[in-house]
């Protein structure tokens, strides 16, 4: 019983950002996209491994992928979006956590406490990342889903 409570507390509170600030939304999306990407990495490693087995194995793998129909491209689009967001937000996190950039100076936590880590620079970074990623993801969607080809 105690273990179930701990599980729900960790998983649900991590995945439901409603009522929290934009940084918390970024935290959730970063983790969800991370899980999508590690799943894709495993599949991509197995896919590339078929190259070492020869043209027959490679052709079979490609045929299996193409048999998914539109789901193949929709999946790739999801992976593209995940990679774009995870990468861009990851750069922000490295700047924050490794170099201490974009963050305000610590202040005395007096009620109502306003986190200095979510100051003007941080908000600009978060919304710029969101906008750039959405534009690039849309472009990736046009390329992958509509078959527009070379841009």
């Amino acid at each position: 019983m105690a273990k179930t409570t701990r599980f729900k507390s960790g998983l649900l509170s991590s995945l439901i950002p409603f009522g929290f600030n934009v940084e918390r939304w970024g935290y959730v999306v970063h983790r969800v996209t991370g899980v999508i990407l590690i799943g894709y990495l495993a599949a991509h490693l197995f896919e590339t491994f078929q190259l070492s087995l020869g043209p027959g194995a490679w052709a079979n793998t490609m045929a299996a992928l193409h048999s998914l129909g539109p789901l193949e491209m929709v999946g790739l689009w999801l992976v593209a979006g995940s990679a774009l967001y995870h990468g861009a937000n990851g750069i922000r996190l490295v700047l924050n956590e490794m170099f201490g950039m974009l963050m305000g100076k610590p202040i005395m936590p007096v009620y109502p406490y306003s986190p200095t880590s979510l100051g003007r620079n941080q908000k600009i970074a978060v919304w710029t990342i969101t906008a750039v990623v959405l534009v690039l993801w849309l472009w990736a969607g046009l390329y992958l889903l509509a078959g527009l080809g070379v841009v």
Binding site: R6, L11, G34, I38, L41, F49, L51, S52, A59, I91
Partner: protein, 105 residues
């Protein structure tokens, strides 16, 4: 944490190179990159890039999965088991990728 940041920075650079080499920006169509001779030639020609990408992606990805599992499932006294599984998974992925690179390239 340092390992996460270093592999993240390597990934941003190397993954960008990987995507640009096989993207519409270079005039290469997606279908063309999936042809056996093209995919094999890419692997041979850019083996250093792919080697670096393999190690950075696997270390960053599996370690990230371990951190997410710690946050979501709170294994507490079994955290060591999670670390052991992560190391085994890393070893498996690295062996699979390295075998592919060594036999093809």
């Amino acid at each position: 944490m340092l390992l996460t940041y270093i592999t993240a920075m390597v990934l941003v650079v190397v993954l960008t190179i990987h995507l640009l080499l096989e993207s519409p920006l270079t005039g290469v169509q997606l279908d063309a990159t999936l042809l056996f001779p093209v995919a094999k030639a890419n692997l041979i020609y850019f083996k250093v890039v792919f080697g670096l990408l393999l190690y950075a992606a696997v270390i960053h990805g599996v370690n990230g999965l371990r951190v997410i599992a710690l946050e979501w499932f709170h294994p507490r006294e079994r955290a060591w088991l999670l670390s052991l599984l992560a190391v085994m998974l890393m070893g498996f992925f690295l062996a699979l990728g390295s075998y592919t690179l060594l036999t093809v390239a």
